[in-house]
């Protein structure tokens, strides 16, 4: 039986997908959107991609705000929060900017791990003064424009930050840093990631709630439902072994990254995770797990209990909580 990992089992196709390897069709691209269909791919892989796109692509956002003067009606932290949510140009952040916590060029923050933006606005005339994202000035503009506010509206103002009355003033300095949306949503490159499979519910993964008729009450996405003539709909006979094979993605960016870069960035994120793990797995294989265990603690190896209860890792070593200092933490090979 030919086994070639990602492409399934060849002729023997165990689950009917991945016999030909993944396939991608781009259906629609706009300035901030990319709609594509991923086919012959497992649900697990497609979901990994969705999750990576949604939460783990690095971007830049305001992280620290030093408020020098704020006599506006908005409290300092309110302003800081608003500033954090302003989209900043993030193309190239992944490669060209360090995480401040990992940056070895500075103790606090520097040009290699941050971008400083300043805002100084004072209302001197009667009436209301609007303070917009365009009023933010980048202290030292970078060649790759990382950290500049994304301004694309017709008036060229960008998002409104605050409104000032005569005599009120805002003067502050922001430090924008690299981060991911898993830590804070301000770093999210997307506003939403549309994800759908099996629009006609042929796999019965869904059990629709309805008042009188589920079909009437639950709208289907026509474009997805008729994808490649797949409208056979509900009366198709149910195949319990069927697996989803087409995944409809609709990536909608917030403007900090181009939609293509978001998709590629998502894949890169997954690959980086895998590479990291492969790297630590390194030479382990040569000597095998036994050696690894032996090294961890010469007498750590105990056969699994007769009742087959793996899962009781903690109990094997004297019943301390699994997450205590016992097996995992201090017990690792080497020391830290």
């Amino acid at each position: 039986m030919a086994y070639n990992g990602f492409a399934g089992f060849g002729e023997d196709a165990m689950d009917g997908v991945e016999t030909s390897g993944p396939k991608v069709t781009v259906r629609d691209v706009e300035q901030d959107r990319c709609d594509f269909v991923l086919q012959s791919c497992s649900l697990a892989m497609a979901n990994s991609l969705r999750r990576a796109i949604l939460a783990e692509i690095p971007t830049i956002a305001v992280d620290l705000v030093d408020i020098i003067t704020n006599s506006s009606v908005l409290p300092d932290e309110y302003l800081a929060h608003r500033l954090a949510l302003i989209p900043l140009m993030s193309k190239g952040v992944g490669e060209n900017l360090n995480y401040t916590r990992d940056c070895d060029r500075c103790d606090d923050h520097c040009e290699y791990c941050s971008v400083v933006l300043r805002l100084h606005a004072r209302c001197t005339r009667p009436g209301t003064m609007m303070v917009y994202a365009r009023d933010l000035t980048v202290a030292e503009p970078r060649q790759d424009a990382i950290g500049t506010p994304v301004i694309r509206d017709v008036d060229g103002t960008g998002p409104l930050i605050a409104k000032l009355r005569q005599g009120q003033e805002i003067h502050l300095e922001c430090i924008a840093k690299k981060g991911i949306a898993k830590e804070h949503a301000k770093w999210a490159p997307t506003a939403a990631v549309g994800f759908e499979y099996d629009p006609n519910n042929k796999l019965r993964h869904l059990d629709y709630w309805y008042e009188t008729d589920a079909k009437e009450e639950w709208p289907v996405d026509e474009r997805n439902a008729t994808w490649e003539g797949d409208e056979t709909a509900a009366d198709a006979t149910f195949d319990p072994d069927a697996v989803p094979s087409a995944f409809f993605f609709d990536v909608e960016g917030v403007g900090t990254l181009e939609p293509d870069d978001i998709v590629r960035g998502g894949i890169e994120v997954i690959q980086k995770k895998l590479a990291e793990t492969i790297k630590v797995l390194g030479g382990v294989g040569a000597a095998g797990v036994d050696a690894m265990n032996g090294d961890q603690s010469p007498d750590a190896y105990e056969p699994a209990p007769a009742d087959g209860g793996y899962g009781s890792y903690g109990a094997l070593r004297g019943g301390a909580t699994p997450y205590g200092t016992t097996p995992y933490g201090a017990g690792g090979y080497g020391s830290y």
């Binding site: 086994y3 990992g5 990602f6 399934g8 089992f9 993944p22 396939k23 991608v24 781009v26 259906r27 691209v29 990319c34 791919c41 497992s42 697990a44 892989m45 979901n47 990994s48 991609l49 999750r51 990576a52 590629r264 894949i267 890169e268 997954i270 690959q271 995770k273 895998l274 990291e276 793990t277 492969i278 790297k279 630590v280 797995l281 390194g282 030479g283 382990v284 294989g285 040569a286 095998g288 797990v289 050696a291 265990n293 032996g294 090294d295 961890q296 603690s297 010469p298 750590a300 105990e302 056969p303 699994a304 793996y310 890792y313 097996p327 017990g331 690792g332 090979y333 080497g334 830290y336």
Partner: protein, 128 residues
């Protein structure tokens, strides 16, 4: 790196652990106690369902693998556990199966990336 235990079996002293990656003083990968050559549980630091579920799937695709499952034992700890058991009558060890799974997933990512770029270029060509 490789700290030689005083009573480690001879011959294992030059044993290479690969590169150790410490994340805030915590190891990226730890083999949980109770492992044997064909059955092991790995603890992977700073990973979640994003890698867990797909990795489980790719490891399971290997015909030498008897069982593979993953879990996130506690929601507020960023640890992912993956259990791999391979058939005793095969040469594939649990570590081999894990590495194979990681490599397969990596390859799948390469293909998707490549196919996406192709499809994207094709879309542009169609538009013009």
């Amino acid at each position: 790196m490789s700290e030689t235990m005083p009573d480690a079996p001879t011959g294992e002293e030059t044993y290479d652990h690969g590169e150790e990656l410490l994340l805030g003083g915590v190891k990226k990968l730890v083999v949980l106690p109770g492992a044997s050559s064909h059955a092991a549980s790995f603890q992977i630091e700073k990973e979640d369902h994003t890698m867990g579920n797909a990795l489980r799937y790719f490891v399971n695709k290997n015909p030498d693998v008897e069982f593979c499952g993953y879990t996130i034992p506690h929601p507020s700890e960023t640890k992912m556990h993956i259990r791999i058991q391979t058939w005793e009558d095969t040469k594939t060890t649990a570590v081999d199966a894990l590495r194979r799974g990681l490599e397969d997933m990596m390859e799948a990512c390469d293909v998707i990336s490549e196919k996406f770029t192709e499809a994207r270029d094709e879309f542009d060509a169609q538009q013009s």
